[in-house]
């Protein structure tokens, strides 16, 4: 297991380097001059002298590869630069928005797991029955309904009409319910159907027939053998969802006035806050890669064959 983890971690290095290079270059492809953007944000007239002086100060006049290595060196020390708008460290601003995002993401993850796994399992066991039909409808609605509409419906009925939850903002646990449910809803359908499909496949495997022949109870077959094996694709699905959600859920955050990464990212784009955009893109990519790693590790935990292969 340890060997497997080390191997996977090593393979991350070129990926992360690639990400950093792309992030760095991408930003230099955006039209506009960071020095001019900075001056505008600071309400300083971007005269030629001012721009030239600032370019010197920000090191923008150096060759691109030197700029890259300097930037990379700083990034390694978690120094992502200073926001042009707030003049605070990018890393501090990101941390500030990261906590609400993590909160929202994990609350949504709980909803996804708690709703989609049982429903997926039940609809596989009772294939074709009304439960299955119902879950199919839920799945269709989940993947096709726009997030903003679902969010507003939830607010309108559960909050304005029934007065069960606050409309928006961050604060108590009750504030977390509607945004996380809205965020989770879009992922529920996919994960539910994934589990159902993979369970149906596994229910016809020889080991199930053999277990039945041995007289193992159906309950035990499903919970001990089939479910565990069928969870593999769902784990991938969840891992991807996790990466997506941690990157910030712009729409949900906007509707519920939730100060997360999505809002930070969008506002930094609108304000042409170059270091912040760079920081956010880098962060999101890293999160995605790390989530993938996490999925792989979970795989090996759920399926020993992968672990053994990796250990060879």
């Amino acid at each position: 297991m340890g060997w497997f983890i080390i191997k996977r971690l090593t393979s991350l290095i070129p990926i992360l380097l690639g990400i950093s290079l792309i992030t760095f270059i991408l930003l230099h492809l955006i039209p506009g001059d960071p020095a001019v953007a900075y001056l505008r944000m600071s309400h300083i007239p971007p005269t030629d002298e001012a721009v030239a002086a600032l370019r010197l100060e920000l090191g923008l006049n150096k060759p691109l590869y030197i700029q890259y290595f300097e930037w990379l060196g700083n990034v390694m020390q978690l120094d992502l630069g200073m926001s042009y708008v707030s003049k605070n460290a990018v890393w501090d601003e990101m941390l500030l928005h990261l906590v609400p995002t993590i909160q929202l993401t994990f609350a949504a993850l709980i909803f996804i797991v708690v709703i989609s796994l049982p429903m997926g399992m039940i609809s596989a066991i009772y294939k074709g029955k009304w439960v299955d039909q119902f879950s199919r409808v839920v799945a269709f609605v989940s993947v096709s309904m726009p997030t903003f509409w679902f969010g507003f419906l939830l607010i309108y009925f559960l909050s304005v009409k029934l007065d069960l939850f606050p409309v928006l903002g961050r604060g108590t646990l009750a504030h977390l319910v509607l945004p996380s449910l809205t965020l989770a809803f879009g992922y529920i359908g996919t994960n539910m159907r994934l589990l159902r499909a993979s369970m149906l496949e596994n229910l016809n495997e020889p080991f199930v027939v053999y277990a039945r022949a041995r007289g193992v109870s159906e309950r035990r077959i499903v919970s001990r053998h089939v479910l565990k094996k069928s969870l593999l694709p769902v784990v991938t699905g969840l891992g991807m969802s996790l990466g997506n959600m941690l990157g910030g859920a712009v729409i949900v955050e906007t509707i519920f006035a939730w100060p997360g990464m999505g809002q930070l990212f969008v506002s930094s784009i609108i304000n042409q806050d170059y270091p912040m955009i760079q920081g956010c893109v880098l962060f999101m990519s890293v999160i995605f890669v790390v989530c993938n790693l996490f999925v792989d590790l979970t795989y090996s935990f759920l399926d020993p064959r992968i672990r053994l292969e990796g250990g060879k």
Binding site: V99, T172, A257, I269, F301
Partner: protein, 540 residues
């Protein structure tokens, strides 16, 4: 092994749950802290964060919050009347170049320190150290010196007699005062920000969470009429529809401002009959600006034609539900010096077509758009993509002008990019608006004459006008003239020329809206458009 694993999984799950709940229970948001008995709290929302609450800087600071905490020497009152504020009275020298302010005694900053001439000078000086950043305020350019005469007398010396001096002293920024303890070590409040937010105003910032909310408490030491409520909570809500829902749920006590909710939502709330709604007098003008440097729009006839071709009534009826008034002049005629006698360009497509023909843009058989020397009449219309109203109008214009054989190419950009492009003059038609009182008309017109960073794109747009130099000269003159009659004549001249040249296409006069629950009173519109009437608002 199996048992261990499932135990591990459930442990993980429990940890996750604890994390999520743990995060949520950290005390924050004043909605958690139970209000004291009889404590009156009002809650409203704004679209952005209040920033670092520094009266000497701009974005991301908001006007309304700067006005809550910091005060000016004089106040811009009803109808533009200048009232005593932190200065109880003032004397102006005969030549109009010296202003002596007699400061109000007994005014204290929220940290208990005295407000006096020394601190007034100190604030003026730090602002003047960064003159370049504030040069859109002509007064800043006119200030020659500041002087402490005695503890409560402050003298301002100007290069020239400048008539809007008092008016510009009333602006929400930058000429307002922070306490001694607020100054950073470098003493430069513009570059290094404030150490803390200490002002003389009726409110004190008591709790703040970036991008979430700000809580202001009543300043118990306030010298003037104290606010009716004890606390104001300002929530950051970017989405207009969410704002409406939060208001319906009573999480917000009132909605106030311009463009904070859609026209549809305002109409919906009004029609429901459950809430009080109000519409202010016209504040600023929504207008299109022609770029007189571009081939087609350089032509006076083309600009005239477009003015005749624009169906303002249809826009107002369909996009604004008839809530805004039609604009025929660059400024609402209710402002000082802006009432001029002109013939408005009424909607007349025949006249527009005739003018376009005269300008050489002729209809070509079998082609949708007019041509001149083989070139199609295509105009680039630049607007701000984050503004829903601009988008609707732009799309309407595109459809309507097509019928006349004019191809409108819509270009939408995010706010910052939009302004950059606008300042560079890369458009034919630009969606813009005037600045509302107290900036209109004089500060807005002054901005036409300079290429200032914090000014407007009008300077560049009007460069192609043969009369530009003449107009600039008159604007500069009108600001320095001491003769009321002369001033009136010059303003009429300037505004008439701008109208005759048809460089603007005024659409409508925009207003502030207010929607509030029936238990809220005192929601009145203030003379300065950006101010929120928080001192008069009361909860019953």
């Amino acid at each position: 092994m199996l048992f261990k694993r499932s135990k591990l999984l459930s442990l993980l799950f429990v940890l996750l749950l604890m994390f999520v709940t743990g995060c949520s229970n950290t005390p924050k948001g004043s909605e958690n802290t139970s209000p004291k008995d009889n404590e009156k709290v009002v809650t409203f929302s704004m679209t952005g964060d209040i920033g670092d609450l520094n009266p000497h800087t701009y974005f991301p600071n908001e006007f309304f919050s700067q006005a809550m905490v910091y005060e000016s020497l004089v106040n811009y009152g009803e109808g533009g009347e200048i009232q005593p504020w932190l200065a109880e009275s003032w004397d102006v020298s005969k030549d109009g170049k010296e202003y002596v302010f007699h400061l109000r005694e007994g005014v204290k900053f929220s940290d208990g320190s005295q407000f006096n001439a020394a601190i007034v000078k100190k604030n003026f000086d730090t602002i003047l150290d960064n003159r370049k950043q504030h040069d859109w305020v002509e007064l800043i350019n006119q200030i020659k010196g500041t002087e402490v005469v005695d503890d409560y007398t402050f003298k301002l010396t100007l290069h020239n007699s400048y008539y809007p001096t008092l008016q510009e002293l009333a602006y929400i920024r930058p000429l307002r005062f922070v306490g001694e303890a607020a100054f950073p070590a470098s003493q430069d409040t513009f570059k290094d920000g404030l150490k803390s937010q200490i002002g003389t105003g009726p409110w004190v910032l008591s709790e703040y969470k970036k991008n979430e909310f700000a809580v202001f408490e009543r300043n118990e030491q306030y010298w003037g009429t104290k606010p009716q409520v004890d606390k104001v909570i300002v929530k950051v809500i970017t989405d207009g529809e969410s704002r409406v829902l939060a208001f319906e749920k009573k999480e917000l006590d009132f909605i106030f401002g311009n463009g904070v909710i859609s026209q549809d939502s305002f109409q919906f709330l009004k029609d429901s009959g459950k809430y009080e709604t109000k519409l202010s007098e016209p504040t600023a003008t929504r207008t299109l600006l022609f770029n007189t440097n571009k081939e087609a729009t350089k032509d006076h006839k083309v600009r005239l034609a477009l003015n005749y071709a624009f169906n303002k009534k249809a826009v107002i009826d369909n996009i604004f539900y008839g809530m805004e008034q039609k604009a025929d002049t660059l400024f609402p005629p209710v402002l000082d010096y802006t009432k001029i006698n002109i013939d408005p360009y009424e909607y007349d497509t025949e006249k527009a077509e005739q003018l376009l023909d005269e300008a050489g843009w002729k209809k070509v058989e079998g082609k949708p758009f007019r041509e001149k020397d083989g070139k199609e009449l295509q105009l680039e219309f630049l607007f701000n993509s984050t503004d829903n109203i601009q988008k609707s109008i732009a799309e309407f214009v595109q459809g309507d002008f097509r019928k006349l054989g004019i191809d409108i190419k819509l270009t939408s950009q995010e706010t910052t990019t939009f302004w950059t492009t606008a300042f560079q003059g890369k458009y034919d038609l630009l969606f813009t608006s005037t600045w509302a009182v107290p900036f209109d008309p004089h500060s807005y017109l002054a901005s036409i004459t300079t290429d200032s960073e914090n000014g407007g794109p009008d300077y560049t747009a009007l460069l192609g006008l043969p009369e530009k130099k003449e107009i600039d000269k008159k604007i500069k003159k009108v600001l320095l003239t001491t003769d009321e009659k002369e001033r009136k004549k010059l303003y009429t001249d300037i505004l008439t020329t701008l109208h005759d040249q048809a460089v603007y296409l005024p659409i409508s006069f925009q207003s502030n809206i207010a929607v509030y629950h029936k238990n809220i009173s005192g929601v009145d519109f203030l003379p300065q458009e950006a101010e929120v009437p928080l001192t008069t608002i009361d909860v019953n």
